[in-house]
Every structure is written in structure tokens, then in C-alpha cells.
Subunit: 415 residues, 2 copies
């Protein structure tokens, strides 16, 4: 009888764990709330009309169609019983397991200000990206319709809160959208008049990068037309704008990229959590007292040589593969090994020919960083169709300055 | 001072009217509730995971970006005052005009059974297509999750009501999805077990075509695995299935393709309407008593040589161009001319290498009709990107039997 492995979550951690088990003598069941794996690093491009949802999402069951030991289920896991080795789904179904991998990741968090969510959506799922895109494009439409100049300024002001990778990339992409892609399409307004403000509570943008790259990134953003404000704390958000430590800022569109919290499922595992809700795992990524259960990806508070493993896609993939190896070792009677994180560097793109990259001591900015970013993201995209279409869209965008994915869907307002 | 032309609606009628006015000495304002023109004939392919929304939708302001005399507004027209020559928007804005073209089309209608809408969505907008796609794909997911064999049969039963072009195309495409694209992706169910039932109240499918083609279409559908039932009237729809004159049919997915009614805006024009709510226009397509206002496309009850002009895309385009010509003639002091409809034939596709076409007495079916259908639809698609990507998707689907657009979005159920 083959061992049952249940994997909860089909992001980078869960998917790469499942794939690593393709030749293992186990039966794998992977459960996700959505039917698709999302290539998260390009989500901001869906939010800013550069790519379509379909370009960065792929049904999990399609990715694993040739892996005959894997079953994919669409289901919402509500609770995990680590003592009974049971995974409970909202549908009432219960899955039992011999080995478990939990990879439900993290989502944006408003630090207790959940009422801000309505006014300042964050970017975590494809649906979030479509909602942000809708708001950005509708703001330009409302500005075109408005007769009152004050209203036009209001609709053409875009505030991004938080200057980590997501915030910086969003702000840069909105600036490019306004200054290039939309310019010829309006008659009453000039999209170039858009005012994009990036607000960061810390003292610099992209603070996980070396300081010299932060400085270069800020300069690149400013060249794109983004107003960068650091050391400014948000104190309130409402339907007309934001209040910060520096005063009031009126804006029709406010986007949240300022905080992340781990998936609430972590709390049901019975293990200690860190302040962001992440599970404090053993050095081999297993749950304390449960060598049959691993936690990987953004849900895991893992350390390597005393430093926290960052919440990035390559780390999640490595953790997923490690958890699979732990299961294969256990089946063949070998003890687990500690997880070693291999830092392959990090990169963020800010706009056309504009990016920063930090790769093993090598620091790149501008065009070389941007070219490296393009290459890496095309290579790691899943699926031939996606690589082909994304390459086509990027080439077209580079040549024409246009953006293809400009449909406004689910526009529910009656105005 | 240039004359003001307001066009309400950016479908085939409104868009082709706007484009025909590009060299006219007028200022054109085109208003639509959505920001995009939809290539309606391919909507069923979005609903059945063959194409993405972006492939068949294009922002109206992008299509008209180089037409400097055209302004595009995103707005919801609530009322038209033909005496005051004013168009009222829900936002409170009011547009005045010298010439008006109303092209707000038709939508599906439940003939007074509006409570059926929740259980049996119709196909009119891109949002409708995404909702239908979501329901179809979720049904397969639920079947995979279900333990009870009766539940599996329930989830794998798909009922399409109405065997006009939309219903026949939907049923054929669902059958192909189940029998080819999804086959390798499930472990607990066989998508081939899906039961697709096409129910028509009339005595044959595709009843606007010659009877010999209807017979061939029915045979092609049956070969694809669709159960075709004619002469069967729907008496009830609920969350578990449909009641018809032949009895009860349990099905998780029920789709509505059985009726169409004109846009309610027609009623505010003060002109007589036909039983489907369409505006009874003059032979030149103008409103009775209002030579400055034309109604075009599916909202117009136009006749040609005594026969009604059909509600198809080529007719809407021809009417749009005619209304523009009427305006140009009026500006140069010439009287209006009656509208002449040129029937270029019609075609419907049912599946791979499977279609019927009726073109000026020529009757095609099977592969030749299918090839003609492909060619015509690629040629008439708007935009290079769309043609390129759709051609890529179709080629890929032909070679691999796959479907690319299988993301389930906005899945709100908690199960």
C-alpha cells in the first residue's frame, strides 16, 4: 500500500513539492482553493494591464496531468488535525494522510485596519489583480467624463502604500501606463497628468536590497514620474484618499502593498507562530513533534545560518523540494536533513529598461538588470503557451509602448 | 461649428457607425456601459475555455485612438430625450446632440421567468461568458471531489436550453471539452462520462437555416456526443435541474440560450416597439418623426423587401454604416435613402471540423463549412494581437485537442 501524501496549496511551494514526488512510491493529493497555480512575480503586470490573467495562471491539474500518482482537488481546507492526520475541507470531505505538506502561503494584511481593505485593495490573487486593474482603468475613464477640474485631479491621483517589490513595481508600471500606453486614447484629459505617489514608512524603497540599489531604484522611479515619499506613515484610508503623518492626500485610487501576514491555516497546526503568523518549523522544515508534516513557502518561518529565509518564489520552490525529499527519505528509513537555502539573488523591475538586481554580490541596475529580469521570468513561467504569449506581449509592448490587457470587467458601478 | 453626433453603444452597429464617420465634418461621441467592444460571434468560445476574454474584447477607445474626431466615454445611458436632443447618463452628465445613433442591442430574456436567471445564465457579455465557464469547470471539479456516484452524475450533466446558434455552439463546445481537452486531467472521474443535453422547443435545431442543414447539424452534434431533444418545452428551472414537457432532468449546470429581448433603452425613444421590444424604424432606419435619430443593430426592427433583417453582426455593421451615411447626406442637404440589407450568408460551428454554412444558396457542412467559418472569423476579428493570438490558440487546440483558457475566477462558493 502506497503512502498517502496530502499537499495543501498549489503555489510555488506546494506545486514543486508535488512535482518532486513524481517518481516516489506515494499517492499525492494536492488541494487548493483555486484551480490554478499563479506565477506571482508577474501579478503586478496583470494589475497594470500588461498581461492577462491567463498568461500567468495555469490550472494545477493541467500542470500535473502527466503525473499519474497525483490527484488534484479544488477545495477549501478549513482545519488540519495533525494528531488524527486528517485534512478537513469546507465541503465536508476529509482527507487522511501519512505525510503532509502545508504550503498555503501568505496574503496582504492591514494590521488590524480591515476597514481599509475596501478602499485600498492589495495584490495577492488573480482576482485582486483584476480588481486593481479595474480601478486604475476606471479612474482614467472617470477623469475623461468629469467636467470639474478638481474632480479630474482627484481621479488622476494614484497612491501606492508600501515600497517593497510589489509597491515599487506597481507604481512604476502605473507611471508607464499613464505616460505611454494611454496617451493617445483620451480626448478631454491627458493621461500624462496622472500623479503617482509611492509612500513608504521606512527610510528607503526596496529595503531588502543593498542601500546603493535602493537609491538607484528611487531615482529610476522618479525618472518615470513617480513621487517617492519615505518615512511617512499611513494613519487613515477612506473613499476619497489617505491620511498620513505628512497630512492629507486626495486620491481616487489607493493601492495597498504595505503588509503581509501568513495564512490563518497555520494557527490550526498546533505549533508556535511568529509575530506575522508564520509557523516556527524545525531546521528540516517539519512541524515540532510531527516529523510526518512539513510547512513550506511563505507560511514557514524558516531560518538558514541564523538568518530568516525570505518570502520569495525560489525559496518556496526549494522548500517544497526539500519537504518531498524528507518524505522519500522517511519511506526508505533515512533520517531528515536540515534545509539549506541557496540564495540565487533577487530582482525587481520598475519600468521599461529599468530594474535593479542583486545576484551573489553582483549589483545591477538599469538595462542589464532589466534584461536579466526578463530572461529569468520567461524561463520560469510555466507552460509553452504562457512563455510564447508573454514574450509576444512584451515584445509588442517594447515596440509600441502599448498595453494589451485593458478590458474593464465586472464594473458594477451604475455610473 | 461641427455637428455633434452621439452614438449610444459600442457593439458592431455603434462601432462601425463611428468608424464610417471618421472623415465626416462632425464630432462623434460614443458612449458604452463597458470599455470594450466584444466580438460576439466568439463569445461561446470564451464560455467553453477555448479563448480568453482579452482575445475577443478590445477597448473601444483603443480601436478609435487614431480617429481624432471621436471621443469615447464609459457611461450608462439611462434615458434619451429625443425632443430636447439630450442623452442622460447615470453619472448625471448630459450629452446634447445634433444627430443620434442608438445601437444598444439585445440581451437574453427569460420571458417573465426572471427567477430562472440565477440557475441558468445566458450568454451576452464577457462577464456572462466567464460565469458560464466558471460553472462548467467547477462542475467537473465537484464531480472529481464527490464520493457519491449519484452526485457525480448530477455534476456531469449539462443542459443547454435553446438550439439556435448560441445553444448549438455551446453544446458542441462542451462536448468537445469533455471528450478531448479534459480527458487526461482527472483521476477519479472520466470527463467522457459527461452527459450534454440540448433542449429545443421548436421542431429542429438551428431553425433559421434550411431544413437540410438543420438535419446535418443535429447529426454532427450527436456524433460529438450531444443528446438533442426537440419539441420539448421548459416549464421550470431550479438549483438542481430543469422540468420540461417531457419530465424532470437533474443537472448541476443549466445554460440559457432560448430567448432574446431588445435593450430597454428602446422604450425611452417614444417610438412603437415590436413584441421583442425592438424599435419599429422607418425604411431609412430613422425614428418615426425624428430624421436626426437612427436606430441600428439588434435594437432595430428593420425590414428589407418585407422580410425582417436578422439580428446578426453583418446586419448591424451594415446598419451602422447606413446611419452614418444618412448623417453625412443630411449635412450636405441630401435626403435619406432606404436601407438595403445584403445577406452575406450565415454559419455556425459545432465542433472540430464540424459546422454548417448557408451562403447565397450554397449549403456547406462538415469540414468545408468549418474552414470557411475559421477564415471569416479571423478576418473580422479586430486588432492584430487578437488575430495573432486566436490563430495561435486555434492551431494549438487543433493539434493538441487542448483548451487554454481554463482559469476558474471569482469562485465564491466556500466549498
Amino acid at each position: 500500500m502506497r503512502s498517502q501524501v496530502v499537499i495543501v496549496g498549489g503555489g510555488f511551494g506546494g506545486l514543486y513539492a508535488a512535482k518532486a514526488l513524481r517518481k516516489a512510491p506515494v499517492r499525492v493529493t494536492i488541494v487548493d482553493r483555486t484551480n490554478h497555480h499563479v506565477f506571482q512575480p508577474l501579478l503586478y503586470q496583470v494589475a497594470t494591464a500588461g498581461l492577462s490573467a491567463i498568461d500567468i495562471g495555469e490550472p494545477i491539474r493541467r500542470i500535473l496531468r502527466r503525473q499519474s500518482n497525483a490527484t488534484v482537488l479544488l477545495g477549501n481546507v478549513t482545519r488540519i488535525d495533525t494528531d488524527g492526520r486528517l485534512v478537513h475541507l469546507a465541503s465536508g470531505d476529509i482527507l487522511d494522510y501519512d505525510y503532509l505538506i502545508v504550503a498555503t502561503g501568505a496574503a496582504h494584511s492591514y494590521f488590524g485596519h480591515d476597514d481599509w481593505a475596501e478602499y485600498a485593495p492589495g495584490l495577492n490573487t488573480i482576482e485582486d489583480a483584476l480588481e486593481i486593474r479595474r480601478r486604475i482603468l476606471v479612474a482614467f475613464e472617470r477623469a475623461e467624463l468629469a467636467d470639474d477640474p478638481t474632480e479630474r485631479v482627484h481621479f488622476l491621483t494614484f497612491v501606492v502604500l508600501g515600497a517593497g517589490p510589489t509597491g515599487a513595481e506597481l507604481a512604476g508600471a502605473i507611471a508607464e501606463l499613464a505616460r505611454h500606453a494611454l496617451v493617445a486614447d483620451f480626448r478631454r484629459i491627458s493621461p500624462r497628468d496622472a500623479h503617482i505617489v509611492l509612500i513608504e514608512a521606512g527610510d528607503r524603497v526596496l529595503s531588502t536590497y543593498p542601500e546603493s540599489l535602493s537609491t538607484k531604484a528611487q531615482r529610476q522611479l522618479e525618472r518615470l514620474g513617480v513621487e517617492v515619499r519615505t518615512g511617512e506613515i499611513v494613519t487613515g484610508i477612506d473613499g476619497r484618499g489617505v491620511d498620513t503623518s505628512a497630512g492629507r492626500l486626495e486620491a481616487a485610487t489607493v493601492l495597498w502593498a504595505a503588509g503581509v501576514a501568513a495564512s490563518p491555516l497555520g494557527a490550526s497546526l498546533g505549533a508556535p507562530l511568529d509575530s506575522a503568523g508564520r509557523v516556527l518549523v524545525e531546521p528540516d522544515l517539519t512541524l515540532p513533534g510531527h516529523p510526518e508534516a512539513s510547512v513550506v513557502g511563505d507560511l514557514a518561518a524558516a531560518t538558514h545560518h541564523g538568518a530568516p529565509v525570505p518570502g520569495v518564489a525560489p525559496a518556496a520552490m526549494q522548500m517544497g523540494r526539500h519537504a518531498s525529499r524528507t518524505i522519500e527519505r522517511a519511506i526508505s528509513g533515512q533520517p531528515p536533513e536540515p534545509f539549506h537555502y541557496i540564495d540565487k539573488g533577487s530582482m525587481a523591475t520598475l519600468g521599461r529598461s529599468s530594474a535593479i538586481a542583486s545576484i551573489k554580490g553582483l549589483r545591477l541596475s538599469g538595462f542589464p538588470a532589466w534584461a536579466a529580469w526578463l530572461l529569468v521570468h520567461i524561463v520560469f513561467l510555466i507552460g509553452f503557451r504562457n512563455r510564447f504569449v508573454v514574450l509576444f506581449e512584451w515584445t509588442k509592448a517594447y515596440l509600441t509602448y502599448g498595453r494589451s490587457a485593458r478590458l474593464i470587467l465586472f464594473q458594477e458601478s451604475e455610473e
